[in-house]
């Protein structure tokens, strides 16, 4: 294993640490979303749009780190 694959796999693992932040962030998004709907159920429809934007924006962090990890393992 002297073709640099060790360091590639190590790098992929380190890249996935970013998922930690995304996990916490997604939890925060749904926490706030559910809390808002529980407090004001009639705002459900309006909150859907903002909630989905928040979900997508947070998930991007996860997907970025996953993409980098996948590229390190399969493409480099």
């Amino acid at each position: 294993m002297d073709d640099g694959s060790t360091i590639r796999f190590l790098g992929a693992g380190i890249a996935m640490v970013g998922a930690l932040g995304a996990g916490i962030g997604l939890g925060a998004v749904f926490y706030a979303w559910l809390g808002a709907i529980a407090r004001n159920p009639s705002a459900d429809a309006k909150l859907k749009q903002v909630g989905l934007i928040g979900f997508a924006a947070t998930e991007l962090v996860l997907l970025m780190s996953f993409t980098v990890a996948a590229l390190l393992i399969f493409a480099v």
């Binding site: 934007i53 991007l60 997907l63 996948a70």
Partner: protein, 250 residues
Amino acid sequence: MTSPIEQFEIHTLTAPLFHVGASPVAFTSSAAWMIVAGTLCLGGMALALRKQALVPGRAQAVVEALYDMIVDLVDNAAGEKSRPFFPFIFALFLFIMACNLMGMMPHVLTVTSHLAVNLALAGILFLVIFTTGLVRNGLGFFRLFLPPGVPMLLVPFMVLIELVSFLIRPFSLSMRLAANMFAGHILMKVFAGMTAGLVATMSGLAVVGILPLVLNVAIIGFEFFVALLQAYIFAILSAVYLRDALEVHH
């Protein structure tokens, strides 16, 4: 076993048609699938709305539901004045949705997993937003970069931050779609490869191969949701960004 990245490879279908600089430009599988997606959108709409009944049939109801969804979205996110731009955002939504959903079929290239395609879509969007902003507001459009009530000392920084956050939008918009599609399809392929690898051992381990298979079924279901959601998110964010051009704060 083949690499999970292989599914994103673009093949040329014809000999190079012409050259731009040194790089040849040919008709590729990517272009072919985009044409198929566009034809499906247009053809599907035309077919569903062939006879326009007051009480819609099944196909017409689907098209009307999609239309109503995007109308609501654009009205909520971009305000009343945005109606002239509704067809543009609806077209973006339909095209991205068609590309995403078609990509879920085996052996179909997921066009939207390529940053170049998404960047072109987002680029067109931003050209439209920038031109509209300039035409509607004149030079007042540049007030967008200076929120009201900012102390004099902070003005240079605020302008810089707002400018960067405006210019980075097309990239984050296209990056989000590309990363979602790319990561999802890799994930499906990796789990499928796990099952294939376990079965190929031809031992007791082959029974364990059912686990990634079950998980893969769930992931495929989730990917269908993501395919629709990402098209929806692209449309929402387009509308939100469009609002900036239509209603510059004073």
